[in-house]
Amino acid sequence: MPADDKVSSPTGLNGITQTGPSPFVTTRWSVVLAAQEESPAAEEALDNLCRIYWKPLYAFVRRQGLNRDDARDLTQGFFALLLERRDLESLRKEKGRFRSYLLTAFKHFLTDEWRRAMAIKRGKGQKPIPLDEMGAEERIEVMPVDRATPELIYERRWASALLERVLNRLKEEYRAAGTTQLFDALKQLLPDEPGAPSQAEVGQLLGMRANAVRQAFYRFRQRYQSLLREEIAHTVASPGEVEDELRHLITIVRA
């Protein structure tokens, strides 16, 4: 089979891109916000969000000067409490983005009342984020050399947690289609960085014609954009906010 054909029916991704309703109907944050009372769906959605976005909070608290163990305990304790109490009432009042909510809630949590509550919870040993996951992430220390504020660190780490999630999903899709190598090559093209391999070089490397690379990359980027917006959508309250949030994250990363 010529290499071109292999990519022109690209990676088995067509279905994912095109089928299904607009992602917004079921975004996690909107589900959480919409839940009127106890709802297993809202709980699960919140749980999912916390698993993705604990790292920015951990970085935030590390930047405040806490050591690794205390930071881990605090982050764990916070999520335990959040997931148990859910505080959905106050959430609904916020109506904002999950990113802002999480930080606000965490700052509340750091006040005495919350911390006392946490002390009780910690006794129960609730660990919403598996410790081994945290252990594996231990290399994520806050740069001791960074002069940025904790808030800025939080937002930057948020952006990279989001992007990591998106690229992992994308990679997984290519892996499932047996085209990990293609993923690894195409991802280099994404930032359009001078000096990175060109499409022609990617073509040579993978034995693909120029047109085929161009098409493959076009689809790659489409899928990337779609996944990125989908993940952002999970953290905002309404579809109109996605673009705004994306621009906000770019500004933060560029700061």
Binding site: I140, Q215, Q225, L249, I250
Partner: protein, 945 residues
């Protein structure tokens, strides 16, 4: 107390694994951290998602077998065939317009939430106006519209590519670049005639067709976001500010006009000639700061093949003040066409700082920057900028003070100084850190008030300590002090073996960097951990050589070279020693102590060894630059080497000082001052740097500036430096023809200081005594000088006989004068024979022959000197040789020639002072000549005129 804190030779590192910067993004200059997803630049990857919302335009193709004709979806009447470009402004597709069945380029601009209806209306109006332009050099616009909240327009599809992509594949020749810009300038002029300003001329907006013809696109597009005058928005749409005119960067839309496009054309020309945009900082902020505060680096410094006139044309377009640019795009086109036809061009080199002063006066930089930054800050968060703007910025810089020597044997002082030097050198390699150079910290050896030191040197921290060595044991005590609060930030003591010395130095540097929260790149990390040599005896020899260099390099030349030679014999891979050795040889050559090819060969050998030991190290490039400059006066080559050196030595004052010296010799005085000022930031008390800046101002008649820098130099000089006592008297002598302060200063030094110091000021004394006509004192001063220390005027070395002859003539003993001059001639003949290509040697011979009355020989030799080293080759020494020719002419009675040459010598940069002309017996033959008196009067201080 920490005992043997680190095992010998092991890299020192005890911080936990942290997120480090792994590299800098080549696209946006942002930092890429070790945890970046997939190792990609987070910002650029996120940006790749901008400008397109996936649901709206794109339906995936059906997997057709021929990708070239695959449809990407539809957009109104357009079938999208292929994406051919994208940027901040949106995406360009190759598309088929269905109802007319033609293939077009379709630009879709996802304006997002911030495009108001008013914006869209204005954009439409602009684009429609541009669409009416009918010119082969302008990409015709077919249709303008809005759809789903996006603007779009369709235009003729130019098969070829964007200028920046095309030249990336195959750079244009210089002539072709000039031709291309001339062509585009005529196109821009056509648009101007119809009242349409492009506003965003940059390489990405120039399309080259398959015949290589340029077509300008995106006319007026920038207008879309301009009216609200926030730079942020403008940047979001226009992308990099690298090609943006200053009036745009400050959001000063009233000033945007035809001249803005002239700037854009100049910026594209600059890019084509040099491969770089005129200004490019790591961040938007830095780029704008550079744009507003600095002049572009002259294109000739990037590429020495660029002709001076073309370089001047380019810089004229890039003037900050729109009024100083070409009056129209047509004028630019015509000047380029003159240049192409080898005709004289209209652009004149403005060079000096006068260039933008007018504009700057009208628009003080701080106000401009503030305007630009306020706009930026709204997007990014004020807190981030505040720190950069707040005055005064007491940076997180550090001064490493000399360590106190507690050893019992005094000879261990070199080891203690070496300790300080090594830590200082390591820290200076960290780009993020301001480190005060060694010359500027030596004064603080015994001072205790760190708060005062912090303020004087503008640093937030001071590292101080003590060390001792007894036999094989060393004890080091180091403490880092925050000068703002006078508190200890870190302190440690080490009791170790001599063998652990390097490890301790690395650890201390590492700790300081950590405490100051400096961001370390991996190469900087490596530089800190590197050991200079593994042979401690070699290191000791090296440290002693360094100590002598710090004391007085010129006087200790042979000793320094001997010590360094011993060091590299013991350790043939001792990199730093090779670099210093090369520099020592080059200094001997340049300062005229041994101006022979053999000396250069020795320097070259040391440099080759340095590169062999550590290819690509900044210090080796610095040594090479010094060699090209001092050995061959290869200014462009040396500057190119310094650019490389600067990459790894970003905070090394030596690099900038040398750049400044070279620019000065090359006649680029404005650039010289810029570089020297940078050096002075890093080495704020270095008298050589400060004095050089003062001298440049003086040579251009900027007396107030000159005096200010001189005062700084005097204040910064060490108290034991005789220069501190002589600099101001010297000023009085030169500027006001008043020898009394110098007389008193010399008398005071002779009364209080040892004889060794007197001899080092003998040249000052000789000049002063001659000006005072005190022949006995002049004779005494002359006796203190060796032949290789005697100079007539700055830098023209001459011998005893010449001055003996002059004395005799002043005493009216013409017979003895002839005898002395004849002896001087015999000596100087030998010098000329040994180095027949060296101008100053001929100049000295000419002067001696003038003393002998050998008129023809004297004039020939004076002219020969100038031919060999004209001002074009060395703007400083060349001018001194002009003055020398005037002197020769005066002595042989050629008054016309003398006055003519003297008139050249007093034109900026001046090579003769008022004091010398007014007082020196050298100029006696011209006295009472009205032309001469007029020249002297023209140099008199204002109150004397």
């Amino acid at each position: 107390m920490k005992s043997c804190a680190v095992p010998s030779g092991e890299p020192v590192r005890d911080s936990p694994a942290v997120i480090r910067i792994i590299r800098i993004c080549r696209k946006c200059g942002g930092k890429i951290f070790s945890d970046a997803p997939e190792g990609l630049c987070t910002g650029c990857v996120l940006e790749a998602a901008l400008g397109m919302s996936p649901e709206s335009e794109v339906a995936d193709g059906s997997g057709s077998a021929t990708p070239a004709t695959t449809s990407l979806g539809e957009f109104g009447d357009y079938e999208l065939l292929e994406e051919i470009g994208r940027g901040g402004q949106g995406i360009v597709f190759r598309a088929r317009q269905k109802n007319l069945n033609r293939v077009v380029a379709l630009k879709v601009i996802g304006l997002g939430q911030w495009a108001t209806k008013a914006h869209l209306r204005r954009f439409r109006r602009e684009a429609e106006a541009a669409a009416r332009l009918d010119h082969p050099g302008i990409v015709p616009i077919y249709e303008v519209g809005e759809r789903d909240g996006s603007c779009y327009f369709s235009m003729k599809l130019i098969e070829g590519g964007q200028l920046d992509e095309v030249v990336r594949r195959a750079p244009l020749s210089i002539r072709l670049a000039a031709k291309l810009i001339a062509q585009i300038a005529r196109t821009v002029h056509h648009a101007h005639e119809f009242g349409i300003i492009h506003r965003d001329i940059k390489p990405g907006n120039v399309l080259l067709d398959t015949q290589g013809q340029p077509h300008l696109t995106d006319f007026g597009l920038a207008r879309l976001v301009e009216a609200d005058s926030t730079v942020t928005r403008t940047l979001e749409v226009m992308g990099t500010p690298s090609y943006m005119a200053p009036e745009q960067a400050t959001g000063n839309n009233a000033d945007v006009g035809r001249a803005t496009d002239v700037y854009g054309l100049g910026a594209v020309l600059y890019q084509l000639l040099t491969g770089h945009p005129p200004f490019a900082g790591g961040t938007t902020y830095e780029t704008i700061k550079l744009l507003l505060e600095t002049e572009p680096r002259p294109p000739r410094l990037w590429n020495r093949k660029i002709d001076r006139d073309l370089s001047t044309i380019c810089l004229k377009c890039l003037e900050k003040d729109p009024a100083r640019r070409y009056s129209s795009a047509l004028a630019l086109a015509e000047d380029l066409e003159h240049w192409l036809k080898h005709e004289p061009v209209a652009a004149r080199r403005t060079g000096l700082v006068t260039r933008s002063t007018k504009w700057m006066r009208r628009n003080p930089t701080s106000a401009l920057l503030a305007a630009a930054l306020v706009a930026l800050a709204t997007a990014v968060g004020w807190n981030l900028w505040k720190s950069e703007l707040s005055q005064p910025p007491l940076t997180t810089g550090i001064a490493v003070l000399p360590f106190e020597n507690l050893s019992e044997q005094k000879e261990n002082a070199a080891f203690v100084d070496g300790l300080q030097d090594d830590i200082l050198t390591k820290l200076a390699k960290i780009a993020d850190l301001k480190v005060i150079s060694r010359t500027s910290v030596m004064e603080y050896r015994a001072q205790q008030n760190v708060r005062r030191i912090g303020q004087a040197l503008r640093v937030s921290h001071v590292l101080e300590g003590s060390a001792s060595r007894n036999g094989n044991k060393i004890h080091v005590n180091a403490q880092l002090i925050d000068t703002r609060s006078d508190t200890h930030a870190w302190a440690e003591q080490y009791d170790c073996d001599w063998n652990d010395l390097f490890a301790i130095q690395s650890e201390i540097a590492q700790k300081v960097a950590e405490q100051l929260r400096a961001r370390l790149s991996s190469s900087e990390q490596l530089a800190i951990e590197r050991k200079p040599t593994s042979d401690l005896v070699a290191y000791d020899l090296y440290s002693r050589a360094i100590a002598l260099i710090q004391q007085d390099e010129a006087a200790n030349g042979p000793k320094i070279i001997d010590l360094l030679n011993q060091a590299v014999t013991r350790d043939p891979s001792f990199f730093e020693a090779y670099c210093q050795l090369a520099a020592a040889h080059d200094a001997v050559y340049f300062d005229d102590r041994d101006h022979t090819p053999a000396r250069l060969t020795k320097a070259r050998a040391a440099i080759q060894n340095a590169f062999r030991t550590r290819p690509n190290a900044g210090e080796a490039h610095l040594a090479q630059a010094l060699h090209l400059y001092k050995g061959y006066r290869d200014y462009d080559g040396a500057l190119a080497e310094l650019e490389v050196a600067r990459q790894t030595l970003p905070n090394d004052a030596r690099v900038f000082r040398l750049m400044g010296s070279i620019q000065r010799r090359d006649g680029h005085f404005a650039e010289a001052i810029q570089d020297l000022q940078r050096a002075a930031e890093l080495d704020p008390r270095d008298p050589v740097t400060l004095n050089t800046v003062s001298y440049i101002h003086r040579q251009f008649g900027r007396i107030a500036e000159a005096r200010m820098w001189l005062d700084r130099a005097v204040a910064g000089a060490r108290s034991d430096d005789v220069y501190k006592q002589l600099a101001l008297p010297d000023w009085e002598l030169d500027m006001n023809a008043d020898p009394r302060p110098m007389h008193q200063a010399i008398a005071s030094i002779r009364a209080t200081r040892p004889a060794a110091v007197w001899t080092s000021i003998a040249n000052f004394r000789l000049d002063c005594a001659l000006d005072e006509r005190d022949i006995a004192a002049a004779k005494e001063a002359l006796r203190a000088l060796r032949d290789d220390e005697i100079a007539v005027g700055p830098q023209i070395q001459i011998n005893h006989g010449f001055f003996e002859g002059l004395f005799a003539r002043m005493e009216k003993d013409e017979q003895r004068a002839q005898r002395e001059f004849a002896a001087a001639r015999a000596e100087q003949k030998k010098v000329v024979q040994a180095q027949p290509e060296f101008g100053p040697a001929w100049g000295a011979l000419g002067l001696i022959d003038a003393g002998l009355g050998r008129k023809e020989d004297a004039l020939r030799e004076g002219r020969r000197a100038l031919e060999l080293l004209p001002p074009e080759k060395d703007a400083i020494l060349g001018k001194v040789l002009v003055r020398n020719l005037a002197l020769i002419a005066a002595w042989v009675g050629e008054r016309d020639l003398a006055c003519e040459q003297l008139a050249i010598a007093i034109a900026p940069p001046q090579s003769v002072t008022y004091g010398a002309l007014k007082l020196s017996p050298l100029w006696d033959p011209l006295r009472r000549d009205p032309r001469f008196e007029k020249i002297v009067a023209s140099l008199a201080p204002k109150e004397h005129r």
